[in-house]
């Protein structure tokens, strides 16, 4: 495993080193030490490598990730895994605001809590949060799955499109056009698969409630004007 020390090299050197690794590289295991809350750590990665960050990160860690697995052995600041395309991002601690925002693919696992706007405008990413999520999570989410083992804050799924939301605990309130939906066998299957991928074995898919879009806000209809 190669080690990159942010006490010795600059953030730019670190990101350049990781970004230029080609697909099929043999240098697949990397460790970043002394992150000290730095912003934009391990962003724009484009090769199937493993990067472990030892400590907590600042804004936008692992943003725009493609193919790589980024493991934050600490907590992550705002915008972790923002606009991820593929690959996996795992946060051992908590994540701040808008974790996984606009993500198009891949898997984001947060083992602690995520704060407000988790999965805002998600477009295909799968997000699994072991703890709770804050208010306005999955706001305008378009596709993908948000799995919350704990509780959700106010206005979950406000103005939701086609993303699926699975919450095991309580939901403080649902946002506009977000409703509780029936859990069908295909949803249990999706959930079992996601929990498996996230390494969660002590929780059953049957313990969750599914939420989704009532699809009343797709096209303007004056009868629904109050819902906007």
């Amino acid at each position: 495993m190669a080690t990159l020390d942010l006490a010795e090299s600059s953030l730019r050197e670190l990101n350049e080193t990781l970004q230029k690794l080609p697909d099929g590289t043999n240098e697949t295991d990397w460790e970043v030490i002394n992150p000290k809350g730095s912003h934009a750590l391990a962003v724009g990665l484009d090769a199937p490598i493993h990067v472990t960050v030892r400590g907590s990160t600042g804004y936008y860690c692992a943003g725009m990730n493609k193919h790589a697995t980024v493991h934050v052995d600490g907590s992550a600041g705002p915008g972790v895994a923002e606009n991820m395309m593929s690959g996996t991002v795992i946060v051992e601690g908590d994540a701040s605001q808008y974790a996984g925002a606009t993500g198009r693919g891949g898997l984001l696992v947060i083992k602690g809590n995520a704060s407000s706007r988790c999965g805002i405008s998600m477009k295909g990413i799968d997000i699994v949060v072991r703890g709770n999520v804050g208010h306005m999570s999955a706001f305008m989410a378009q596709s993908g799955n948000l799995v919350v083992l704990g509780d959700a804050g106010d206005a979950l799924g406000d103005s939701l499109y086609e993303a699926r939301l699975f919450v095991r605990g309580t939901v403080k309130s649902l946002g506009a056009d977000c409703i509780e939906k029936e859990m069908r066998p295909e949803h249990l299957e999706i959930l079992a698969d996601l929990l498996g991928k996230a390494g969660i074995t002590d929780v059953k898919p049957e313990e969750f409630t599914r939420y989704g879009s009532a699809r009343k806000l797709y096209n303007f209809d004056v009868d629904n004007a109050d819902a906007y």
């Binding site: 000290k36 809350g37 907590s56 804004y59 907590s75 600041g77 908590d94 605001q97 407000s116």
Partner: protein, 298 residues
Amino acid sequence: MCGIVGLFLKDRSLEPELGSLLSDMLVTMTDRGPDSAGIAIYGEGSGNGAKLTVQSSRPDEDFGGLGEALNNRLATPVSVVRKDTHAVITTSLDNLAAAREALSDLRPDVRVMSSGDSVEIYKEVGLPETVLERFGIAGMSGSHGIGHTRMATESAVTTLGAHPFSTGPDQCLVHNGSLSNHNSLRRKLMRDGMTFETQNDSEVAAAYISHKLQNGMDLGNALEHSLDDLDGFFTFVVGTRSGFGVVRDPIACKPAVLAETDRYVAFGSEYRALVDLPGITEARVWEPEPATVYFWEH
């Protein structure tokens, strides 16, 4: 954007390091706001004393002979210690109102940054590192303090527009965000007798809290009420003589991180500001909930 830091010490053995720890935290937040910087330090209070921290754009003229002039006018001992563009005037609590009056008469251009038994506020335009060096903040000791580095979004980049804002004895407030109803609230507070020195939205928030405290509310309650009456985005960190509070608006757009150990409570706009504090790796670190008041008292 703006950057806020705060440090409330529980372990008295850390007190000599307060200025140095806060300075490092604030310098880390420079890229959140390079326009101006300020810091409030709560030092040892005498119990019966009162301090005025004052600022002048012409310190040589204004502070030269000020101690003597105040002594003559008030016929009581007054000490004046100059620090760059600021000076700390110390007198007895009974003399505070007379000292303020004499000061505005003798040196009409001097501005009062803070008053109280323990707080001193230093703020100027410029990068945090430079501002902190000018006042020798790193060498100061105290029980708690807050700092701010400003990216101006409301009102001018001036010394008075810098934070912290102090609108009551031993009170101060720093703000990250922007308020949308500050003009109407300012008018209302002015009708209730509050005075303002700037057009800044954050000064309104500080005066709002002071007004509530003057009317007998405790700080926790005053902060709870601010959630109903202040509209806009805010993360506030406030200091009183013995207390330290944090509150965010219900939307909580502006970032905030709290950390607590047996030795201190620390606040930073970002986790980066906290990383060099002693024992931070073992601290409980969390993001304060929206519309929730956090408060610690000695």
